[in-house]
C-alpha cells in the first residue's frame, strides 16, 4: 500500500537514478554521493514497510539494519503510528509553543510513566542534538558550574553544545574553537572519571551504550560509580539515550540494566515513530534545578519539539511499545542474533574480531577497517542493509526494527553468513596487501577507499552493461 513504484521488481531506469543522483549532488552534496557509492550504500529507499525497504534502483528488497541509527524501533510504516498521525491531521498542526496544549501534557505524562522513577519532569526538543543542548544548558545553568565531562569517542550530535561534547576529533576539527570547559575521559574507566570529577563540574554526560563509537556498553558498576561521583561532588548525571532508548536494548531505557537513574535524560530518534521529528529531556525535580527554573523556565524554549502532531505520534509510539511489550521482543531477538553472530565469528576469526551489544543493538567488529564497506556491499547483495559506524568504520551496527520476527532475525543471520562467505573469496586478494603496513594504511584511508571503491563500482557497472557478461543481481 505504501509503494511508490508499481511493485517488487519495478526497477528505476538507469537514467532516472542518474538524474536523482545528479540533482542530489548539485543541490545537496556531491561528496556524499561518491562516498555512498563507494560504500555500496547508494540505495534509493522505497516500499518502506515493517523491517524492510526496496531499493528502487535494483528492485532488491532489504532488511533495514541501520534504521537511521535507531529511529524505526516500531517498524517502518507502523499502522498504529500512521493511524494516530492520520487522525491528528484531521484537526491539528504543529501548534503554538506558547499556548496550552493537551497533547504536550499527555505525552509528558506518558513519558514520565515509562521512565525510571524520579525522572518526572519534562522538556521537549526538536531532535537529538537539540535535546543534548537543552540538557547541558540545564546542567550548567542550574549548577552555575562551567565544566562538562564527556567520554572519548562519544557521539552526542552536531549542534553547538552537543558538538562540543563529541569525543571524536573528526566531527569537531574544522569548527573550532568550540565551547571551553569540555573534558574527555576514557569510556568505562572508573579511575579516570574519579580523578576528573570535581566541584567545578556541572555534569557528566554519557551514552549508556556508545553507538557511533562502535557499540560499547558501559559496565553497570561503572555507571554506579558515575552516580556516586556526581552525588558526592554535586554534579548532574546526564544520560544520552537518543539511540538506546525506547526498547532498543531489551529494556524501555538502557539505564534500567544498571538501575542507575540519571538526573537528566535526553531522548529522540524512535520517539518520532520514523515519521515525525520530536525529542524530549526528562529530569529530576532536584532543588538546584527547580531554583534555576523558577527564574529561567524559558532557558531552552522548544519551538518545534513537542509539537501537537509530534506529541500524537509519540503517544502512539509509546502505546504500541507498552501494548506489545516491545522491550521483551528486543531482548529475545537480540539474544538470538547475538549468539548466531558469535558462532559466525568463531568460524571466521580472520574476518571478525568481536561481536558485542545489548538487546537489538549489536556491533560486529572486523579485523580491518576496509572490510566495513566490502561487507556493506556483500550484505546488501544478500538482502540486508547495514552501515558501518561513522566513528569506527571497522564496526558494523545491527539495529533492525524491534518488530522483527524470529524468521526475520534468521534471515539476517543467513545473510551475514553468506556475506562473510563472499568476503572470504575476496580476501586472498586483499589480505596480502593488508600485511604491508603502507598498503593497509591506504586501504583504511577513507578518501582512498572512496576513490578505489568508486573505480571498482564503475568497472562493475561497465561489466553489467556489456550483454552476456553481466546482468543485474536481484
Amino acid at each position: 500500500m505504501r509503494a511508490r513504484s508499481s511493485g517488487k521488481g519495478a526497477v528505476l531506469g538507469r537514467g532516472e537514478k542518474k538524474r536523482i543522483e545528479e540533482q542530489f549532488a548539485r543541490h545537496i552534496n556531491r561528496g556524499q554521493v561518491k562516498y555512498l557509492k563507494a560504500g555500496h550504500l547508494d540505495v534509493l529507499e522505497t516500499m518502506r514497510r515493517g523491517i524492510r525497504f526496496t531499493d528502487e534502483a535494483t528492485g532488491r528488497t532489504m532488511i533495514d539494519c541501520f534504521t537511521s541509527a535507531g529511529c524505526f524501533n516500531v517498524g517502518r510504516g507502523n499502522p498504529v503510528v500512521l493511524a494516530a498521525l492520520e487522525e491528528a491531521l484531521d484537526s491539528l498542526d504543529m501548534g503554538s509553543w506558547m499556548l496550552l496544549s493537551p497533547w504536550k501534557a499527555a505525552l509528558a505524562r506518558e513519558l514520565v510513566q515509562v521512565a525510571p522513577r524520579g525522572l518526572d519532569r519534562v522538556f521537549f526538543a526538536s531532535g537529538g542534538g537539540d535535546a543534548i543542548d537543552c540538557a547541558i544548558k540545564l546542567a550548567r545553568g542550574a549548577t552555575g558550574r562551567p565544566t562538562v565531562i564527556s567520554t572519548v569517542k562519544a557521539y552526542h550530535g552536531h549542534t553547538g553544545f552537543a558538538l562540543s561534547a563529541n569525543g571524536k576529533e573528526h566531527y569537531r576539527r574544522y569548527f573550532e574553537p568550540l565551547m571551553p570547559g569540555f573534558r574527555f575521559v576514557p569510556f568505562n574507566d572508573s579511575e579516570a572519571i574519579a580523578s576528573a570529577v570535581d566541584e567545578k563540574n556541572a555534569a557528566v554526560i554519557i551514552e549508556p551504550i556508545q553507538g557511533e563509537a562502535g557499540i560499547f556498553a558501559a559496565d553497570d558498576e561503572y555507571l554506579r560509580e558515575l552516580r556516586r561521583l556526581c552525588d558526592r561532588h554535586g554534579a548532574l548525571l546526564i544520560f544520552d539515550e537518543v539511540q538506546t532508548g525506547f526498547c532498543r536494548t531489551g529494556r524501555f531505557f538502557a539505564c534500567e540494566h544498571s538501575r542507575v537513574v540519571p538526573d537528566i535524560m535526553a531522548l529522540a530518534k524512535s520517539i518520532g515513530g520514523g515519521v515525525y521529528p520530536n525529542g524530549a529531556v526528562l529530569y529530576r525535580g532536584l532543588p538546584v534545578i527547580n531554583r534555576f527554573l523558577k527564574k529561567h523556565h524559558d532557558f531552552h524554549t522548544s519551538y518545534n519539539g513537542g509539537s501537537d502532531i509530534g506529541c500524537c505520534v509519540s503517544l502512539a509510539v509509546i502505546r504500541f511499545m507498552r501494548e506489545t511489550r516491545l522491550w521483551e521482543k528486543a531482548e529475545r531477538s537480540g539474544a538470538r542474533l547475538y549468539s548466531a553472530l558469535e558462532d559466525i565469528r568463531r568460524e571466521n576469526p580472520a574476518i571478525i574480531r568481536e561481536v558485542r551489544g545489548l538487546g537489538l543493538m549489536i556491533g560486529i567488529e572486523y579485523i580491518h577497517e576496509f572490510m566495513g564497506p566490502m561487507m556493506s556491499d556483500a550484505l546488501a547483495k544478500n538482502g540486508v542493509f547495514a552501515a558501518y559506524s561513522g566513528n569506527a568504520p571497522q564496526v558494523m551496527r545491527f539495529m533492525p526494527p524491534l518488530v522483527a520476527s524470529d524468521e526475520d532475525i534468521d534471515e539476517i543471520i543467513a545473510a551475514t553468513r553468506a556475506a562473510v562467505g563472499a568476503m572470504k573469496s575476496i580476501l586472498p586478494l586483499a589480505l596480502p596487501a593488508a600485511r604491508v603496513p603502507f598498503l593497509l594504511n591506504l586501504l583504511n584511508n577513507e578518501r582512498v577507499q572512496t576513490l578505489l571503491f568508486n573505480w571498482l563500482r564503475s568497472a562493475e557497472d561497465l561489466v553489467e552493461r556489456i550483454p552476456g557478461l553481466g546482468g543485474r543481481n536481484k
Binding site: 537511521s68 541509527a69 504543529m94 519534562v122 519551538y303
Partner: protein, 410 residues
C-alpha cells in the same frame, strides 16, 4: 480525541506537574494561558469555541495560515507513501526539495542543508563558514535572536547568556548599523558576518540597505562570508519573498526558517553558494541531522513551496501590511500617547509600549479582544504582530479594531 476534551483546570494541573511552574505564570502574563484547540486559516479556537485571530503564528511559522489545505493533503499523501528515511542516504525527496529551494532563493544560492529548527540551521551556518574559510572569527550585531542551540545562543542578545558557562569563543558582537565598528571588526581572521537583516524580536529593527551593502563590501574585501538569517523576515513575511530584496544585497548563506513546512511539518534549511559547498563536498557527512530534511517532511515542504509560488503571499503581505500598519497607527495613537511607533515591514510589525508592564498588559487585553499577540524576546517592551500572510481586508480591519479596543482597556 479524548485528550482534546481535557478541561482547562485539569490541563493546568498537568502542566504544573510536568513543566516548570514559572512557565504557566509567564503564559498568563501575556494572556496566552489559552488551550489551543481547533485551528483554521487565520484563526485559533479555544476549548470553549472562543475564536482568536492568530497574530503570533508561532513566530512566523504558520505563514500560510493554519493548516493550509494543500500542505496537509500533501503530508497525508506522503505518509502513505514514505517515511523519514535513513538520514545519510541519497534521496529523491531531499534532492527535489533542495532543487526547489534553490530555485526559490536568490540567484547564486544553490546548495542546501536541512534541519528541523532555526537554531540548528544557524549552528550549521556557523560551522560551514568556519570550515570553508579555515577562520574562527564570527562577527554579529547586537539585538540579535538566533535560537536556542549552542552557536545560536552564543550569538544572541539575551540577559541570561552568561549563565550557561563559557560559550563559543571567537564571537564578536558589534553595534547594529555602525559602519565604523563593522570596518574594524571584519578582519582577515573573520569567517563570517552573520545577522538578521530585520530583527523581529528586537522591535523589528531593520538594517538600512546602505549598511547591508557595506557589510557585503567588507566581507568581499576580507574574504569573509556574509550570512543572513531570514527565519522570521523571509518566506513572504515582510512583503517580499525575502527581506533582502529591499536592499538588493545577496548573502553567501541564507537561513530559511520553519515557514518552509507551513506549520504542518518542522523543517528548516540553510541555503548557500556552490563555492562554500566545496568544503562540504570534501567532508561529506561531517554535519548530520537525523530529522532534518526527512523524506516525508520534504514532500510536505515541496507542497508548501508550491503554494508559496502559486499564491505569492508576499504580495498580500505588502498590501495588508500597509493597511494594518496605518490602521494600527491611527487606532493606537488616538487612544494612548504612551504607545510609540509601529515598526517593521509587510506583516511583521512591532509596536513599542515603552516598558514591559505596558506591553504585557496590552497582550492580555488583546487576547480578551480576540487577538493573540506576544512580546519580543529581545526588546521586551515591544509587541509583535505577525498574522497569516493570507489575511483578508476584513480580518485586517478586525485586528485593527480589536487592537484599538485592547489599547483602551489595558
Amino acid at each position: 480525541m479524548k485528550t482534546a476534551n481535557m478541561s482547562k483546570r485539569t490541563l493546568i494541573e498537568e502542566y504544573r506537574r510536568f513543566f516548570p511552574g514559572a512557565m504557566l505564570d509567564s503564559m498568563r502574563s501575556e494572556g496566552l494561558d489559552i488551550i489551543e484547540g481547533k485551528r483554521e486559516g487565520a484563526f485559533i479556537y479555544d476549548e470553549k469555541g472562543k475564536r482568536y485571530i492568530d497574530c503570533i503564528t508561532s513566530a512566523s511559522v504558520h505563514n500560510l495560515g493554519r493548516r493550509p489545505r494543500g500542505v496537509t493533503a500533501a503530508f497525508r499523501k506522503a505518509l502513505r507513501e514514505t517515511d523519514q528515511g535513513n538520514f545519510p542516504m541519497i534521496s529523491r525527496e531531499k534532492a527535489a526539495l533542495a532543487a526547489k529551494i534553490a530555485a526559490f532563493s536568490p540567484y547564486g544560492l544553490d546548495c542546501v542543508v536541512f534541519s528541523v529548527t532555526r537554531g540548528e540551521s544557524v549552528d550549521f551556518a556557523c560551522k560551514l563558514v568556519r570550515g570553508a574559510t579555515g577562520r574562527g572569527g564570527i562577527v554579529t550585531v547586537d539585538g540579535s535572536w538566533f535560537g536556542q542551540t549552542g552557536f545560536a545562543l552564543s550569538l544572541s542578545e539575551r540577559a541570561d547568556r552568561g549563565i550557561y558557562g563559557p560559550l563559543v569563543p571567537g564571537v564578536d558582537i558589534i553595534p547594529f548599523g555602525d559602519f565604523a565598528a563593522a570596518a574594524k571588526a571584519v578582519t582577515d581572521g573573520t569567517a563570517a558576518v552573520i545577522l538578521e537583516p530585520m530583527q523581529a524580536e528586537n522591535g523589528c529593527r531593520a538594517a538600512y540597505p546602505e549598511y547591508l551593502g557595506e557589510l557585503r563590501r567588507l566581507c568581499d574585501a576580507r574574504g569573509a562570508v556574509l550570512v543572513f538569517d531570514e527565519t522570521q523576515s523571509g518566506m513572504g513575511r515582510t512583503g517580499k519573498k525575502f527581506f533582502l530584496e529591499y536592499s538588493g544585497v545577496v548573502p553567501d548563506v541564507l537561513v530559511i526558517g520553519e515557514a518552509l513546512g507551513a506549520g504542518v511539518f518542522p523543517i528548516a534549511a540553510t541555503v548557500f553558494t556552490e563555492k562554500l559547498n566545496r568544503f562540504m563536498n570534501r567532508h561529506p557527512l561531517i554535519h548530520l541531522s537525523t530529522f532534518g530534511g526527512s523524506d516525508i517532511g520534504c514532500m510536505t515542504a515541496i507542497a508548501a513551496l508550491e503554494l508559496y509560488e502559486r499564491l505569492r503571499p508576499w504580495e498580500n503581505a505588502e498590501t495588508m501590511g500597509r493597511r494594518l500598519r496605518s490602521g494600527l497607527e491611527k487606532a493606537l495613537r488616538r487612544r494612548s500617547r504612551q504607545i510609540g511607533r509601529v515598526s517593521g515591514a509587510g506583516l511583521l510589525l512591532a509596536v513599542d509600549f515603552g516598558n514591559r508592564a505596558n506591553a504585557l498588559a496590552f497582550c492580555r487585553s488583546a487576547a480578551r479582544s480576540g487577538v493573540l499577540v506576544k512580546t519580543g524576546e529581545v526588546d521586551r517592551s515591544s509587541v509583535l504582530i505577525r498574522p497569516s500572510l493570507l489575511i483578508t481586508p476584513t480580518q485586517t480591519n478586525e485586528i485593527i479594531e480589536a487592537m484599538g479596543k485592547a489599547a483602551e482597556n489595558k
